[in-house]
Point group: D2
Chain length 415, copies 4
Amino acid sequence: MNHTPDNLLADFGEVRRHTLSLAEPLSDEDCCVQSMPDASPIKWHMAHTTWFFETFILERFESDFQPHHPAFRVLFNSYYNGIGEKHPRPQRGLVTRPSMQEVLAYRRNVDERIVRLLSKGKPAGEVAALTELGLQHEKQHQELMLTDVKHMLSINPLYPAYRNASLEAPSAAASSLSWQDFEAGITEIGHSGGGFCFDNETPRHRVFTESFSLASRLVSNGEYLAFIEAGGYADSSLWLSEGWDWVRNNQLAHPFYWRNTDSEWQEFTLYGLQPLDAARPAVHLSYFEADAYARWAGARLPTEAEWERAAATMGEVAGSINAYRLHPVAAPAVDGLCQLYGAAWQWTSSSYAPYPGYSPAEGAIGEYNGKFMANQYVLRGSSCATPARHTRVTYRNFFPTGACWQFTGIRLARS
Amino acid sequence: MNHTPDNLLADFGEVRRHTLSLAEPLSDEDCCVQSMPDASPIKWHMAHTTWFFETFILERFESDFQPHHPAFRVLFNSYYNGIGEKHPRPQRGLVTRPSMQEVLAYRRNVDERIVRLLSKGKPAGEVAALTELGLQHEKQHQELMLTDVKHMLSINPLYPAYRNASLEAPSAAASSLSWQDFEAGITEIGHSGGGFCFDNETPRHRVFTESFSLASRLVSNGEYLAFIEAGGYADSSLWLSEGWDWVRNNQLAHPFYWRNTDSEWQEFTLYGLQPLDAARPAVHLSYFEADAYARWAGARLPTEAEWERAAATMGEVAGSINAYRLHPVAAPAVDGLCQLYGAAWQWTSSSYAPYPGYSPAEGAIGEYNGKFMANQYVLRGSSCATPARHTRVTYRNFFPTGACWQFTGIRLARS
Amino acid sequence: MNHTPDNLLADFGEVRRHTLSLAEPLSDEDCCVQSMPDASPIKWHMAHTTWFFETFILERFESDFQPHHPAFRVLFNSYYNGIGEKHPRPQRGLVTRPSMQEVLAYRRNVDERIVRLLSKGKPAGEVAALTELGLQHEKQHQELMLTDVKHMLSINPLYPAYRNASLEAPSAAASSLSWQDFEAGITEIGHSGGGFCFDNETPRHRVFTESFSLASRLVSNGEYLAFIEAGGYADSSLWLSEGWDWVRNNQLAHPFYWRNTDSEWQEFTLYGLQPLDAARPAVHLSYFEADAYARWAGARLPTEAEWERAAATMGEVAGSINAYRLHPVAAPAVDGLCQLYGAAWQWTSSSYAPYPGYSPAEGAIGEYNGKFMANQYVLRGSSCATPARHTRVTYRNFFPTGACWQFTGIRLARS
Amino acid sequence: MNHTPDNLLADFGEVRRHTLSLAEPLSDEDCCVQSMPDASPIKWHMAHTTWFFETFILERFESDFQPHHPAFRVLFNSYYNGIGEKHPRPQRGLVTRPSMQEVLAYRRNVDERIVRLLSKGKPAGEVAALTELGLQHEKQHQELMLTDVKHMLSINPLYPAYRNASLEAPSAAASSLSWQDFEAGITEIGHSGGGFCFDNETPRHRVFTESFSLASRLVSNGEYLAFIEAGGYADSSLWLSEGWDWVRNNQLAHPFYWRNTDSEWQEFTLYGLQPLDAARPAVHLSYFEADAYARWAGARLPTEAEWERAAATMGEVAGSINAYRLHPVAAPAVDGLCQLYGAAWQWTSSSYAPYPGYSPAEGAIGEYNGKFMANQYVLRGSSCATPARHTRVTYRNFFPTGACWQFTGIRLARS
C-alpha cells in the first residue's frame, strides 16, 4: 500500500460518490427492503460502509470522537463480534428509520470527518491503511448492491428493470472453446509486493500442480442449455449428493434467473427480463450446478492454484474485459484465455481455507475474512458487476455451494 | 342497508380520504415493508382496498371494463381463491414496484370510476350493497394499518413514534371495578333490522345463558402488573396447555409491547415508548394471557352471548367512548358498563363459529368471513384504533389464540 | 361412583389384563418405537398407565412409599406439570431401556401394591375414586394403543397387520340414510347422577337448540368416494381456509389410510391393507375433511348439544354396537339412529370448551382435561377401538382439526 | 487386491460374524430405534450390509437370482440412486418389521449364497473385488454401529451402558506433548501398490508442503478442560463464524458427551457414565471445536497431506494402538508420534475433495465415495471403535463440520 495523501483523498471521494450513483435509479422503497437473509437493502449497504469508516477509523483516531448516532453502532454492524452486538441480519429490511435521507446525512457527516482527518498532514500508516481497506470494503459492497437489488427485483412479478436501457442485440455465437495446457510443477500463488490486497491473499507460497488444461472462455448459455436439454437436472449421477438434494428440495430444472414461458427461454437481468442470448456466458450458477455441468461435459472445475497460475502466466487477452456493463457479453474470438475478469466469477473446486502461514489482523478487523474459512468455495476472476480497479489475479472471492445470486459462472479444466 | 345515493357517495369520499390521512405521518419506506406475515404493508392495504372495489364492483358493473393494471388482480388479492391466484402473503413487503405514487394513482383511478358508476342515477341494489361492503372492508383495514405499522415500528430498535405528540399524563388511578349481574334466560343475539352488518352477525337467533356477572371495565395495566409480580408467567397451573407452550417457546414474561429497563416498565405505543400507565387498560394481550389472567383473578372470560346480551341490555355509559386516540385511556368512574367500545377489543371464550342457520354469500365474496370459522376466538366491542361509525353491539371480530398485535384486552366474567 | 371394594378389585384386574392382551400380537420392537410425536409407543402406554396409579395413589396413600424406580417419575409423566419434569414427548420412542420385560415387572409390582391397598378393608373414598379414574384413564390409553400402533404399521412399506385374521367380506351396501328431526327448545346436557364420568362432562346444564335434523348413520366410504370423484380435494370453496392450507401443504387427495394402486382403492386397517369397502363408514377423517364433506353434501356437522340431545332422546338402536372389531362395519338397516357408538367418533362443530360452572379438580389431577380447552373440537360417541363399558352419551372426546389417526367419521346434521 | 479364494472365504465369515457379535449386548428394542437422522438402527446396519452383498454381487453374478424379499431392495438401500428408490433415511427406526429374527434370517440366506458363489472355483476378479469391497463396507458399518448405539443410549436419561464392564482406573497423567518437525518439500500421498483401498485414496500423487510440526499425541481431556475453563465457549474470536453460530444455536459449553453434575465432570461412554479422565484423549469433538481449540492453543489443525506424510514417514510407535477397547486410553510416554490409530479420528483442515486424476467406479458403486466430496472435512487415522485390520495410512474418513457423534479428536500442527 503506497498511497500518498492526495490520491487517497481523491479515491475516497470517487468511491464514495460511486456508491451514491448506484442508488440513483432506485426509489427509497427499492432501497429499503430485503428480499432474503443473504441479501441486504441498498440503504443498509450505504450505512454499513459508512459505519466501517466511523467505527474503525474515526472512533480510534478522531480526537473527541462522538458517534453520529449512538444506535448506529449496533444497527449497522454486519458481523464483527469484536465490536459488540449486531442488529439481526434477517431484520435489516425492517429498518425504515433512519430514513434514506438520514442515511445520506450520515454518509455526508462521516465523509467530512474522514476528509478532515486525512487532510491533517500526511496520514499515519494505520489511518491510511484502514482508509484503503474501507474503500476496498465499499467496492465489495458496490457489487453486492447490484446483485442484491437484482434479487429483490426478480422476486417482483412485474420484473422491473434496474437500468432502463436495452441490452445489446444477441451475439451471433460464442467463440469456439479451446484448451490451454500447463505442465506439472511448483509455482507460487498469493499476493506479494506492492498494492493493496486482502489478508486472505497472503502469504505468497509454493504449491505443486500436476499438468492440466484450462478452457479459453466461460461456458455459454447455449452450452448450458444443451445440458438442460440432455436431462442434466434429472440425472442424479451428475450431481454431488448434497447438490442432488438441493435440486430436489427446490424442484430446480434451470438456473435461478431463467424463465421458460411458452417454450421460450428468458433471463432476468438488471435490464429486466430478456430473451436468453446463447452466446453470453451462463451466470448465477451455484457450485452444485457448475460441478454437475463440468461432470456432464467430461471435465472438472479448476483448483484455485490452477486458475491463478494460468491467469498469472498468460494474462487476460487484450480488450476482453467487459467494463461494468451489468450483464456479461459474449466471449471475443481470440487466442489464449479470455473472460478471466469482468464477465463472471468462476467457481473453483478449492474449499476456502487459509494459506500456509496465514494470520489475520489483530482485533475486530481480523474478523474480515478468516472466520469464514469453512464450508465455502473459492471463486476467481471478477464479474460484470465488479467495480473498476477491484480486480487482482490473487483475489479470492468465496460463497457457499448453494449461492447463485452472484454473477457466477463456469470455466472448465481437465487433467 | 338503506343508503341513498347521496350519502353513499359522501361516505365513499370520506372513507377513502381517511385511508390516505392514515399514511400521512409515514414515509414511502414506512409504507412498503412488512414486519411479519400476519401484518401487511401500508401500501398493500391502500392497494388491496382499492382492488376490492375494482374486482367486486367495476369488473362486474362497469361496461367496457379494463383493469387498471393486469398484474394487480393477482398482486393485491388477499385470500379470495374464487378470484384466482394470489401473490404470496409473506412477500407483500417485497413489492417496491408499483411505487407508492403508482398505488395512489391506482386509488385515484378507481375512485373516479366508482364515483362515475354511483353517479349514474340511483345505484342498483347490488352496486350499493357492494359499495357499502367495500367501505366497511376498508374501515377494517384502517384499523389494521395502525396495528400493522405499530408492529413494524416496534421492531425498530429506535422505537420511532407514529404520532409525534405526547400521550396525556398518567391518570391518577383506574376507577374501581364493579360487577353487573344478569339472570339466566333465553335471549336473542345477532343482527337484525336496518343498517349494515357482516354476514357472520346473522341470523339473529335464540341462546340460553345461565346467570352471570360481567366486570364494569377492562383489566388495567396495574392489575395486570400484579399478575406478573405474583409470578403469573412462571406458574403453569394458570395456563392452558397450548398457552404454556406458547409462553415457554417464546420465553415470555410480560405483554408483547412492554419493556422493562432499569426496573422501570415502559409500553410501546403509537406515540413511541412511554412509561407504563397503571390506570389505562392492559392491551395487546393474547387469548392465552387473557385466559390465564382471568383464572388467576378467580374469574373467567365471558362468552360472546353473555357479552352481547349485557352490552345490548345496559349499553355503554355516556361519554365513555374514547374516540380514536390511538391508545386507550383509563376507565371513567361511572355506574354500569364502560369501555365496551373504543378502548380495546375484548376476548371472549367463544370459538368463532357460524350462527345457527348462517349462510355465506354466493361466489368469491362468500369467502369474506365464513372460511375462517375454526381455531379462532371471538372478540367483542371495538378499540381505540377502530374508525368512527364502525361499532356495533353485534360485531364479531376474531383472531387466533396467540395473536397480540391488535388492541386486545380483558373484560372479566363470573358465574 | 359407587364401587364396592369387590367389583373395583375385579375391574382393576380385568382392565389391567386387557392392556396386556393388546400387546400380545406385537414384538418388543413393535412396542418400542414412536411413529410421530402425537402417537406413543405401546411400551410407553403400558408404563404411563402404571405410573398413573403409582403417582396419584401409591405415592399419597401407601405408607412407606418407595418408587419402583426413581427415574420413572419423570420418564413416564405425560403432561402433568404439577408433578414436575417430563421426558420430552417426541423422544418417547428412544427409550429402549427400561426394556419391555422391565416395564412388565413395573406393572406387576404396582398391581400388587394397588391390590394390597384396595384389599385393606373398604377403600376410602379418594382411593376408590382415584382407582376408578386410573381405570378409565387406562381404557382411554387402550384405544390409543390401537390407533398409535396402526399409525406405526401404516408407515411401514410392508403394511403389516396387527391382527392376522381376515376382515369380513364387503357388505352389499350401506343402509339408506334417513333424517331424524328435533324441535327447538331448551334441554339439558352433561353428566348427572350415578356412575363415573370425567370432569369435563359436568356440570349438567341447560342449552337452547334451534330445530335440527340428524343423519341416521355415518357417512360411508362409498359416499366419501363420490366426494373425491367430484373433485372435493381440488375445490377450495368447500374448505375452511386452514383446511385448504392443510390440503395443499400435505398434497392430499384422499383420506390418510386410503391407497390408490392401479386404480383400485385400498384402505389400511388393523387387518393390513384391504380393498375399500363402500358400505363401511369412512374413518380417519380430520375435522377439515368432515367439514368439507358436509358442505359439499349440503349439510353441516352437528353441535355437541344437538348430538347429545338426539342420542339421549332416541338412544342407539338395538344390536347396532360393533363390539370391538378393530374396524367398523356397515350400518344395519334400521329405523332411528345407529352407529352412535362402536363405529367411529363423530366430529361436532363445537370447540372444546368448559361447560358453564365447570371447575377442574385440585392439584395435578386437575390437568387431566381442563387445560386442553382451546383449539380442539369435540367428538361424540365411541369407536370400534373403544374398550367395553367405556361409552357414555355425555362423553366428550376432543382432537385438533388436523388429527386423523383416530377412528373419526362424519354424522351429518342440518337445520 | 490379491485375495486367494481361501482367505477371502475366511475373511467373509469372520467379518460377518463380528457384526453379529456387536449386537450381542443389545436387545431387539435397542437394535430397532433411530435416535437421529444421522444415525441408523443396529438392525438396519445388519440388513443394509447384507443388502450390499445381495445387490452388488448376487443380483449380478448368481444365476437364477431371486431377491430374498422384493421389498428389501428399497428398504435397505442407503443412498445409491443408481439402484433406485430408497426408504427415507429419517424413518429407518420405524421399521419394526422385518423383525430382528427376520433380518438375521436374511443375513444367513445371503451368507450361504455368497459362500456358494465364492466356492465355485476361483472367484472371478470382479466377484472377489466386490466381496472385498463388501467386507470393507461392513467394517465401516461396524464402527457406525458402535457410535450410533452410543448416541442412542446417551439420549436415555438412565444412561445405560453398552458394555457392562468397568473402564480402567484413570491414568495418572497424559504423557507430555512434544512436536515432530518436517521440512518443506514435495512428497507423495495416496494409495499405491497392493492391498485394498477405497477409490477416494487414489491416485497416488505429488504434493508440496511447507515445513511444519506435528504434535506427538492427541489433545487430552485435561487440556480441553483448560480451554473450557478459560472461557473458550464464550469467546467468539476463537471460532469460525459458522462454528460460533453452532455454539450459540445449540447453547453449547462443553463436548457433546460431557455432563457436569454437582461440579463434577463426567463423560458418557460405551461403559456408561464415567468420571472424566483427564489423561485420556478428548473425543466426540466437532470440526468447529477442534479448530477453536487449536486457535486457542496457538496452533492449527494439520492438512491431510501433512498428516499422511508424517504418519508415513515416522509410523506409529510400537504398542500404542489401542485395540478396540471402545474408549481410547491415555497416550503412552514414548518418542515420536503416538495415537495415530486406535484412539480417535483426527480432524484435518482439508476439505474432502477428489485427488488429482480421481475417477469413481462405473455404475451405482461409483456413488460410494465421490458424490460426498463437498462441505465435509477429512479425518485421518482410526479410532478405538475401528475394527481390526481396517487401518491404513492413506485412509480418508470424512464428516461435516458439526458432526460429533464419532470418536473424533484433535492432533495439533503448527507452521
